[in-house]
């Protein structure tokens, strides 16, 4: 597993270096445009903006995303099942510290991971996801999220995303300025030497093209990394659970479409979710979207369903079969022993699941729980201010404490 991380860290670094080169080129060209010879100053300014945004992103990024979604942190006793599932995955993956677990009260099923390092990470899950999936499917989803944390995806994708932001920022603001300068330039700056003016014009044209292309190029690279990382996270999730059908079933349930937690994710930040929150339908598109942060969900399901074993090399071969491309996961054979599996599969009841989840949400929102003698459990919202309440079934009066 760790070799896996090393080789993909290397590839990510290469890709991110390329994006950084684009960013610095944009800065350089800008500098040259505004004051000839100040290309280096432009690079410096681009670097400063990037560092500043990185600091904000690293130290506060995770918290910002969680707060934006009204995520509530839960402790070990608030939702035993979820906590146990995450703890099991923590053991299987060798994560050094138990991630913080957050729940988002939302009618769309989705989950995401944040955190700049395994020592400081968080996993968030929506209530709809909890009621929709049974234990093994939930475990597959959590394994996928923890894979993102272990593979440092949150780190790389945050850095790359911030760079894209800087590129776009510089390109947008300055494109107007550049066009102004270029409009005047050839007349004023033409010197006595003709070759000089031709070079200058070529330089300006190249600069404009760079400004137009750079954001697009950066985005294409970013989304290419992001898609590949999703496949890798699927592969590692299977390696942790040794049970590809769990994640496959979860994705099938999720494939209906519309996982949009309203207005809380944009294209760049959506990379850490299990399914693309900006996608409105799960149907396969004729031309796969190159600007999509997630691979098509049908492909992901197909690969998982066609795996024979639960290891990385099995995922690699399944991936090659389904997509006719190479994923090139540096694969190592997985430990040979079949281990004693779960003692008992709990019966999955959708009603029980929903009841447990909504009870937990109400408990966190300070609802009062009263048990009546007839067997009904009364759940009273904090807004209720009367002293007494009558049971809706047997009309017995209870005191509200």
């Amino acid at each position: 597993m760790w070799q896996q991380i090393d080789s993909n860290k290397r590839n990510s670094l290469i890709l991110i270096t390329v994006i950084a080169m684009i960013m610095f080129s944009v800065g350089y060209v800008l500098g040259e445009f505004f004051q000839s010879g100040d290309g280096i100053l432009g690079v410096g300014i681009a670097a400063v903006i990037w560092i500043f945004m990185c600091i904000t992103g690293f130290f506060f990024g995770g918290n910002i995303v969680l707060a934006f979604n009204n995520a509530k942190k839960i402790g070990p006793d608030d939702h035993k099942l979820l906590y146990n599932v995450v703890e099991e995955m923590k053991i299987a993956s060798g994560l050094e510290r138990m991630p913080d677990i957050y729940i988002i009260n939302s009618p769309v099923p989705n989950a995401f991971a944040t955190g700049r390092s395994p020592a400081k990470s968080a996993v968030a899950v929506t209530t709809k996801l909890l009621t929709l999936l049974n234990r093994e499917e939930l475990q597959g989803v959590i394994a996928h999220e923890i894979s993102h944390i272990i593979n440092r995806d949150t780190l790389y994708l945050t850095m790359a995303g911030i760079m894209i932001g800087v590129i776009s920022l510089l390109a947008d603001i300055s494109l107007n300025g550049v066009l102004d300068i270029v409009g005047d330039a050839p007349v004023e700056r033409t010197s006595s030497k003709d070759e000089n003016s031709v070079v200058t014009i070529i330089f300006y044209v190249a600069g404009i093209i760079l400004m137009l292309i750079a954001p697009l190029l950066g985005r294409l690279l970013y989304f290419a990394i992001s898609r590949k990382r999703e496949y890798l996270a699927d592969a590692c999730a299977v390696q942790f659970t040794r049970y590809p059908q769990g994640l496959a079933k979860a994705l099938e349930k999720l494939a209906i479409g519309n996982y949009n937690i309203p207005r809380s994710f944009d294209k760049i930040t959506s990379a850490m979710c299990i399914v693309n929150p900006l996608e409105t339908t799960g149907k396969k598109k004729i031309f796969p979207d190159l600007l999509s942060s997630h691979p098509p969900i049908q492909d992901r399901i197909k690969i998982l369903r066609s795996m024979l074993n639960g290891d990385l090399s099995s995922y690699d071969s399944a991936y090659s079969q389904v997509t006719k491309q190479d994923l090139n996961i540096e694969t190592t054979p997985v430990s040979p022993v079949n281990i004693i599996q779960n003692a008992v599969q709990n019966q999955f009841s959708a009603v029980d699941n929903m009841r447990q989840t909504t009870n937990m949400i109400w408990a966190m929102n300070n609802y009062i729980f009263i048990e009546c003698d007839c067997g009904t459990k009364l759940k009273i919202p904090p807004e209720y201010t009367d002293i007494e309440i009558n049971c809706p079934h047997c009309s017995k009066a209870h005191y509200v404490s």
Partner: protein, 184 residues
Amino acid sequence: MKALLITLVIVSIIANVIYNKLVKLRNQVKNAWAQIDVQLKRRHDLIPNLVETVKGYMAHERQTLEAVIQARQQAVNISAAGNIEETAKMESMLSQTLKSLFAVSENYPDLKANSNFAALQEEITSTENKISFARQFYNDSVMLFNTALEVFPNNIFASIFDFENEKYFEITEAEEKEAPKVSF
């Protein structure tokens, strides 16, 4: 002369890097082994609660209940003694008896409705899963360590530094690979 010196320096740097990596991986293996014990102890502590909860409902399943208690006691005793193979065997037997207990509990609808029992069942299931995953992680760590020992540049240094292959956690008895048989 100078070339020899440079070669020596490079070789010693490589040896250093490899040695450190092997040490880290071996410690990972030892840690993973200890983590299995943590989960096993957790299970030992949970079982008495389970039996108490269940006793009232399953009064005529005395044999099954006694089998669970006995298996647990044996496992605790043997793990205190420290023999790894014996411990593994006893813990497997304990898993088998727990499976039988849960299979039998399906026959008692009142028991299933009891929220304490449901919570305990979730806890025991989770504990069994954690034990499985801890063993899985141990085996994965062993695999990584053994691979690191056996690949080319490292295997030269491995014997010099006296590193040995670690053993996988394996099931020794064929009957433990079968699902438990429950007859009513």
